[in-house]
Symmetry: C2
Subunit: 117 residues, 2 copies
DNA sequence: TCAACCTTACCACGACATTGTCAAGGTTCT
DNA sequence: AGAACCTTGACAATGTCGTGGTAAGGTTGA
């Protein structure tokens, strides 16, 4: 009846511990289906995502919380725009405009981005 | 001689504590210039960035480490591409292609992205 | 029925994030 | 010179992250 692997089976084939699979689910990054009685059921897509997630974390030495934040930015346009525009200000060269105009420009831009409720 | 505000002056006009201004600098998000004798000198641009950063953190309840990670993604193309493609897999509907093709597609995509040293 | 699973809910621990404060010593300004 | 700054470095308290356990109880399959 099982439409996918149970948590310990999934753990064995992905390299995560069962404990961490529950934790990953808690972060919202990989959520398996559930059987009628509440058992977690990992399908091929979830298993693949778990494997590549593990690779991603190890390869760039990032944390689950980092990827979770990236996911939050991907879902929330306001957050993404606010963060990106804040970061862009850093790269921009003040020489492109007069220092005064530059500051006013930045100020107005952020006021707009942060103003909306 | 001071080409900008010293740390306590900057603290007063931005709402951060002097302690936190040093910490923010440590995260690499806002780095003031230095006087010949090593004093931190905050110019108008830095002050504005500090104010908007504070707004950003409070408004979306994110941490400095989150913004620091966003900065890292903005700077590192490999990291950005790897994270984004991992996240995109979540949104994609397996119905667009057959389940088999879908899985193979995902597998190959991530192999490529994670393969490069 | 009973072993072998599964669930949620806790406790714990080390590492890191966020702040504050304090000490020892250099700089600035009057 | 001396008050009022600044610097780095360190210790500390609290909180979250990542991870492993353990306990009490439900599910499954031989």
């Amino acid at each position: 009846m099982m439409e996918g692997l149970t948590i310990n089976e999934a753990a064995r084939t992905t390299g995560w511990s069962a404990r961490m699979l529950r934790y990953v689910e808690q972060t919202g990054l990989v959520s398996p289906a559930r059987s009628a009685s509440g058992y977690r059921l990992y399908g091929p897509a979830q298993l693949q995502r778990l494997r590549t997630l593990k690779e991603l974390l190890a390869r760039f030495d990032v944390g689950l919380s980092d990827v979770a934040f990236a996911a939050r930015m991907a879902e929330n346009r306001d957050l993404r725009d606010a963060v990106q525009s804040w970061l862009e200000a850093e790269a921009r060269r003040p020489e492109e405009v007069g220092p005064e105009d530059w500051l006013r420009f930045e100020q107005e831009k952020h006021e707009k981005l942060l103003a909306a409720a």
